[in-house]
Symmetry: C2
Subunit: 112 residues, 2 copies
Amino acid sequence: MRFIDNPFQCPVTRTMSIIGGKWKPIILNCIGDKTIRFGKLNQLMPAISNKVLSKELKDLESLGLINRLESDELPQRVEYNLTDAGISLMPVLVEVANWGNSHFAKQIESKL
Amino acid sequence: MRFIDNPFQCPVTRTMSIIGGKWKPIILNCIGDKTIRFGKLNQLMPAISNKVLSKELKDLESLGLINRLESDELPQRVEYNLTDAGISLMPVLVEVANWGNSHFAKQIESKL
DNA sequence: CAGGATCCCGTCGGATACTG
DNA sequence: CAGTATCCGACGGGATCCTG
């Protein structure tokens, strides 16, 4: 994945590069404290395409936020769960979510 | 400004739409507790173009995070500062920054 | 089942020049 | 001084189809 060009090495920008974008926080939240399969994630997020889900999971894995657990049984079976780093991110996401909830009504998306 | 398409009305995604992108957190940080002029912001962030800085400031203003204070003197003089909502966002940004600092070294930008 | 390949389009952000 | 106007390339993300 690519990082946003980061003048001043701004740590906020750096973190945004990681959890920004459309899907990553949603994916992390869908994984939660579970160990969950690719197909199950796809069910939870019907709007995401295979390609994008696959790419986001790779990004999150290479960032060390999730584990990818592959069994060699058939049918193929791949599961994902959060690493300690991923778990440590969740409270931050909660803070972000709380701020968003308290300062912006749901309707704002249609307001602008 | 446009919001990321937001399935599930995810409040994290909503907040990311606001403070994501390359410049907004940096701008908010540069304003800080000061009242600061457009030209001064431009000096603090030499890498940002007039067009982008102007657009970002408009976004932040329409989101209610900053005030735009215009005097009708000549030469033209426009200043910006944080609103209460903008101030309330800063601790969240600090949390995000702390997480970024503790989990990712500066070098990560060049690593991937 | 879990993805990769391909094609496509909209938006973000940069460069440069211009203006009241 | 504080912006606008114009042009442009790069990237994110979607749709669809294919495969070990």
